[in-house]
């Protein structure tokens, strides 16, 4: 009788992908025919030291000699790593190989000034943990990943705490321009070690050729550097992008299932390694990326700071009477400010932490809803999703809202599947926390409750017992109601006073996007995934809307799982409700207000990319394209001065503060710039630009037309500026990102 295809594992051909991958961590090294003997890690480490020392002396050589040395070393390294794989190569070799080549490229291109850096950096990158000398293979891999995370986190924190050290002291003045990008470079260093572990692990199991990885990375790196121009910044960015792309490909390679028949096996057999390490690495990177903020505070953040500077009771009172946001976030910020002060980083810390915690949360949510591959993919997407990064760097409530929103989804799925009382309670708590953070969270809650209702109807139709579901649901709703009870009178009071308020947050749209045009809708949707970009770029991206049809068509035949409809609901309900509401109140269709749809969208995308049955090539290609597009979007959003959401109040007000003297008058428009002016120029006497006499030696007018959202108001502000200018001479003018300072005498 012919064997059944499901009757493995006995029928599995020896050395097949799954068998081998699974066995890597289980088999003792002695039984592994290709595994090296337990290595002496210290010697493996020490043999790279001479290279570091040699690199320290390269400044004595000419440029041609440097290049020749770089080539020779690269060839030597390739040969060494490729040919020694079966004997004594370790992840440390891999990391050293990549690091050394990287350093040599940088030295060859930038010259001798960076030579001392070569030696130090090489040592840092190859640093093993001080642990036992002899390790078996599994321990070595685990240790290596730990080293990646620990060293990466330490370097990241050090760079963050002492940004001047690497830039000026260690690397010299040439790297001053690189500035905060060195954080990114540190992240790339961490990733290199992950690459090393992944490549080593994959080499026998999934046919990844180490040589291909090394040569591919270096060629891509050199190509990027040449493409961007041989500057320190380009080397740093190229190092990051190339390393990141390689990690994306290798990780997906690790996570991609084999052919369909293999998927019938238990899911743990599909994994070559526990993805927890990948997620830990991603979390470190997420932290680094979120700490990498160089923009000053903007209006809303300054308003938050002004609010939390008040005594607690007064702050709550002001919130109740003059604001339209719930108090949870500001209460947390109030405590944070008392502990760490009101520096930009201190007030943004809650958002940075929440935005970083979102990464492991996305992983566990994706893992529990679909599988681990989807979880890792969602975490990877979340790490680099530009909008998530943006709001993780803003002293507002959106990062916290995202954290609670994803947690609510996670606990709901767990509760429905497990029926555990604790999960139902957690679902209720997270839902309440969402609403205590932002009232628009009610839209996701509607979707989640709707999903429960649909589930109940289906279960009833299918004759299943409804009791556990209804009991759990009732419990979570009871928790929710109890927790929301104090918020209800607060909200009612705010609502009663809301007629007197100007609106929600300060409008942050482009003037060009005013009105609910199809362009505005699409622009918001593009922002949701790829972040904020210049007006011209947005018009070009939006023009590519036919590709959305491709996405819609691609969905045909997919997403039949019920839980997919929960995520789809969490994504579409806020969008649709706000769209309909915006037909009356146009400002409502704004990406910030439906930001809870973004993680749901990322989870869905992660599922579609990594779904079982998809081909390796398709999965790898889709993941790489997506992650690279996120990476490019992120870089453009973070560094491009044409990002319409960047307002350089810090620069403009520093100018005013440094130049305004007693007797000068400082005017600003629109009037809600008050708090940001107070924050950056607290000692300057400033008032809104209004009609009336101006008495003073010089008049500083600070204005932002982009923040003046209506054409009429813009005309009015311009009129007032013209009136101020009449009879005076303009003696200076400073333009910062979307902020204009004029000085009249």
């Amino acid at each position: 009788m012919p064997p059944s295809p499901d009757s493995e594992p006995a029928l599995e051909p020896p050395g097949s992908a799954v068998t081998t991958a699974t066995s890597i961590l289980e088999r003792p090294a002695a039984h592994d025919p290709w595994a090296p003997a337990p290595p002496d890690r210290l010697s493996a480490y020490i043999r790279w030291i001479p290279l570091g020392i040699a690199a320290a002396f390269v400044h004595l050589l000419s440029a041609w000699a440097l290049i020749a040395l770089a080539v020779a070393c690269a060839v030597f390294l390739f040969v060494r790593v490729v040919h020694s794989r079966r004997t004594s190569s370790t992840p440390v070799d891999w990391a050293a190989c990549l690091a050394a080549a990287d350093v040599l490229i940088a030295t060859a291109l930038l010259g001798r000034a960076v030579a001392p850096f070569a030696a130090v950096w090489l040592v840092v990158q190859t640093l093993p943990l001080p642990a036992r000398v002899k390790l078996d293979r599994a321990q070595r891999l685990l240790e290596h990943r730990l080293a990646a995370v620990v060293v990466g986190a330490a370097v990241t924190v050090l760079l963050f705490a002492f940004p001047a050290i690497p830039g000026r002291v260690l690397l010299g003045p040439r790297y001053t321009d690189a500035g905060w990008l060195l954080l990114v470079y540190a992240a790339a260093t961490v990733l290199r070690r992950v690459v090393a572990a992944a490549a080593e692990e994959l080499s026998p199991a999934k046919g990844v050729r180490p040589r291909t990885v090394v040569i591919g990375m270096l060629l891509a790196h050199v190509g990027c550097v040449l493409g961007f121009g041989p500057s320190p910044v380009s080397i740093v960015v190229a190092g990051f992008l190339v390393t990141f792309a390689t990690v994306a490909v290798l990780s997906l390679r690790l996570l991609t299932p084999g052919p369909v028949t293999q998927q019938l096996k238990p899911p743990q057999n599909l994994w070559g390694l526990p993805p927890v390490n990948v997620v830990a690495g991603l979390t470190v990177i997420a932290l680094a990326v979120r700490l990498l903020v160089d923009r000053g505070l903007w209006v809303d953040e300054a308003i938050s700071i002004a609010q939390v500077k008040l005594p607690f009771a007064q702050m709550i009172d002001q919130l109740r009477n003059e604001d339209i946001h719930p108090p949870l976030y500001l209460s947390m910020l109030w405590g944070m400010v008392r502990a760490f002060g009101t520096s930009p980083i201190a007030v943004r810390l809650p958002s940075i932490v929440a935005g970083t915690l979102l990464i492991p949360l996305l992983y566990v949510t994706g893992r529990d809803i679909y599988d681990r591959r989807a979880g890792v993919m969602a975490a990877a997407l979340g790490t680099f999703a530009p909008l998530l990064v943006w709001y993780s760097q803003e002293a507002r409530m959106y990062a916290l809202l995202l954290l609670f929103a994803v947690a609510a989804l996670w606990f709901q799925v767990r509760a429905v599947r497990n029926g555990r009382r604790l999960d139902w309670i957690a679902f209720g708590v997270c839902s309440a926390a969402m609403l205590w953070t932002h009232y628009f969270a009610v839209l996701q809650l509607v979707a989640q409750v709707g999903a429960l209702a649909v589930l109940a109807v289906r279960r009833r139709r299918e004759g299943e017992s409804l009791r556990p579901l209804l009991d759990g649901w009732a419990l979570s709703m009871a928790v929710l109601l109890v927790l929301l009870a104090p918020l209800a009178p607060f909200f009612r009071h705010q609502l009663a006073f809301s007629d007197q308020l100007s609106g929600l947050d300060v409008p942050a749209r482009n003037p060009e996007l005013q009105g609910l045009s199809i362009y505005a809708i699409l622009a918001n949707l593009v922002w949701a995934l790829w972040g904020y970009h210049s007006e011209g770029l947005m018009r070009q991206i939006v023009a590519l809307w036919p590709l959305c049809m491709l996405f819609v068509l691609f969905l045909l035949g997919r997403g039949r799982a019920r839980v997919t409809w929960l995520l789809a609901g969490a994504m579409f309900v806020p969008l649709i409700v706000l769209f309909v509401a915006s037909l009356r109140l146009r400002d409502l269709f704004e990406v910030r207000y439906f930001i809870t749809a973004v993680p749901a969208a990322l989870l869905l995308i992660a599922h579609f990319v990594t779904r079982p049955g998809s081909r390796r090539f398709a999965t790898g290609a889709a993941a790489t394209v997506l992650l690279l597009s996120f990476g490019v979007g992120l870089v453009d959003q973070q560094v491009s001065p044409s990002n319409p959401r960047r307002y350089d109040f810090e620069g403009a007000l520093t100018y005013v503060r440094d130049n305004a003297k007693p007797g000068d008058v400082v005017l600003y428009a629109p009037r809600y710039l008050e708090k940001v002016v107070e924050y950056y120029a607290p000692d300057v006497k400033a008032r809104p630009l209004i009609r009336g006499p101006i008495h003073g030696n010089r008049t500083f007018v600070l204005s932002s037309m982009e923040l003046t959202d209506q054409v009429e108001s813009r005309s009015r502000v311009q009129l007032l500026i013209n009136q101020t200018a009449s009879g005076r001479h303009q003696i200076a003018e400073v333009r910062r990102d979307r902020i204009h300072v004029q000085v009249f005498r």
């Binding site: 012919p2 064997p3 059944s4 295809p5 499901d6 369909v260 199809i518 362009y519 699409l522 018009r539 070009q540 939006v542 023009a543 590519l544 809307w545 036919p546 590709l547 049809m549 491709l550 819609v552 068509l553 691609f554 969905l555 045909l556 035949g557 997919r558 997403g559 039949r560």
Partner: protein, 492 residues
């Protein structure tokens, strides 16, 4: 040894698309009508006319697809979930298995299963148009009759007609030689035939090898047809015969002179004649036989071209036929589906022309509102397909139809020129290796689109150009996905 997927019990659905889609589609119907009106009222406004010829072509293509979509909605809404009916009589059945050049390992499981059918009086006959001795031996081994003939006139239709003249049972079951019947096949289909006016009972063509590639996409297309569409046709008494997994009343066949031999889609033409003669037809959605989908692109193209050629040629005949209006429209909808490749030509030509010449169908100043009107209609229409098909219709199925647009064009041209069609047997086993030659028209199309994209980007990066680049990229992606199984070089 590879297990024949037709014999594996796992994953076999009991019913094709068991979801009752009619209620859901009915709910979506009003939305579809409203959004179609929203779009077409905008499109047909005189202010929209850009380049008159291009505009005319675009409107023509859109109206054609609207008619197809409306026909689909109507069919789905009319879906009937027929109660199963057990037979009360036990009249004799002849089971005919026509074959021409298929290998014995394809035919044998079918023959073996046919000989195991649960029914008091079953006579199985292997109709071998290839005259192969090994088939004779195979039939003898299973105790089946072996029927062959001197010439192959009339191909499959002629083969069956020949067998009809040699057999006499009141019911005749026809099974393609790759379709392995379930032992309940006759018990599940003979009940409705006890109504004297029922000519045949059709059951789905289930593909057991549809795990990937062309076979999977092909099955997704079949699943949509044998799901909501066939149920709808049954509800409208307009179900036509699909050539296999069907049981006929011999009297009905004889009344219309047997299988028509002049058409390459003899089953379609036969159904038309039966309906014209006043016979009723019945569809039972239970999966009662498991067959093989075309595994490679060459087989798929052969199959689709034959269907397209036959159905398009039938259009004049349908227009002349004496049929109730609903039945006539159903036949027309099915036949005209094979003209939809022309609309793809129009859609693909628009961005190319815009990028190369600057001419566009919609007037430029109003083009920016196109999306606002088109997107809701498009989304609703796609959602309806997804809902009606219960998720069975996939992107890969859509891409495969799109990538073989030229089959429809070639079939229409052949029909217009009046060239006689030849019955080509669909290969039952896939060919190994790349099949780039088969997909040459698709590859040329991709090349043209790509050239237009590069040309356009070379000249301009404005939103208008990028919008057309987006359309061209959409077409390129869909065509590539559809052609991928042929380019990949793997079997099926």
């Amino acid at each position: 040894m590879k297990v024949d997927p037709r014999l594996a019990e796992a994953d076999r659905p009991a019913v094709i698309n068991g979801v009752d889609a009619s209620r859901r589609v009915r709910a979506l119907l009003l939305v579809n009508i409203a959004l179609a009106a929203w779009y077409f009222l905008w499109l047909l406004h005189p202010d929209r006319v850009g380049h008159p010829v291009l505009y005319g072509l675009l409107v023509g293509a859109e109206i054609f697809n609207l008619v197809q979509a409306a026909g689909f909605w109507w069919t789905c809404v009319a879906a009937r979930d027929r109660p199963r009916r057990a037979p009360t009589q036990s009249l004799a059945v002849d089971v005919l298995i026509p074959t021409y050049n298929e290998p014995p390992d394809v035919v044998e499981p079918t023959l073996a299963a046919a000989c195991r059918l649960r029914w008091p009086e079953v006579r199985v006959a292997l109709l071998d148009d290839g005259g192969r001795p090994e088939m004779g031996a195979l039939a003898a081994r299973y105790g089946a009759a072996y029927i062959t003939r001197e010439s192959n006139a009339g191909a499959k239709a002629g083969n069956i007609n020949n067998a009809l003249s040699l057999t006499y049972a009141p019911y005749v079951a026809v099974l393609d030689c790759d379709h392995v019947p379930d032992e309940r096949f006759l018990e599940a289909t003979l009940g409705p035939l006890e109504d004297e006016d029922v000519a045949f009972v059709q059951t789905p063509q289930y593909y057991a090898n549809a795990d990937r590639g062309v076979a999977a996409a092909s099955w997704a297309q079949q699943a949509l047809f044998f799901g909501p569409i066939a149920r709808g046709k049954d509800g409208l008494d307009a179900m036509f015969c699909c050539g296999t997994n069907v049981v006929f009343r011999r009297a009905a066949l004889e009344a219309v002179g047997g299988f028509p031999q002049e058409s390459v889609t003899e089953d379609f033409e036969l159904s038309l004649r039966l309906h014209e003669a006043g016979w009723r037809t019945v569809y039972v959605p239970d999966v009662l036989a498991r067959g093989l989908a075309p595994e490679d692109m060459g087989s798929y193209v052969t199959q689709q071209f034959r269907w397209a050629r036959g159905c398009v040629s039938s259009i004049p005949r349908i227009l002349r036929a004496r049929l109730p209006m609903r039945v006539r429209v159903q036949y027309l909808l099915s036949s005209m589906f094979f003209m939809s490749g022309w609309t793809l030509v129009v859609y693909m030509a628009m961005p190319v022309i815009r990028l190369l010449t600057g001419d566009q169908p919609i007037e430029a100043t109003t083009a920016n509102t196109f999306l606002l009107h088109f997107a809701p209609y498009f989304l609703a229409a796609i959602s309806t397909v997804a809902v009606a098909g219960g998720g069975a219709y996939t992107f890969e199925a859509f891409a495969l139809v799109a990538a073989t647009w030229w089959i429809h064009v070639a079939a229409c041209v052949a029909a217009l020129l009046g060239r006689a069609g030849r019955f080509k047997v669909t290969p039952k086993q896939g060919a190994a290796g790349r099949q780039t030659a088969v997909m040459l028209p698709t590859l040329v199309t991709i090349g043209i689109l790509l050239t237009a994209v590069l040309w356009g980007l070379e000249r301009d990066h404005g939103p208008a150009t990028l919008n057309n680049v987006g359309f061209a990229a959409l077409h390129i992606a869909v065509l590539l996905r559809g052609a991928w199984p042929a380019l990949e070089g793997e079997r099926g």
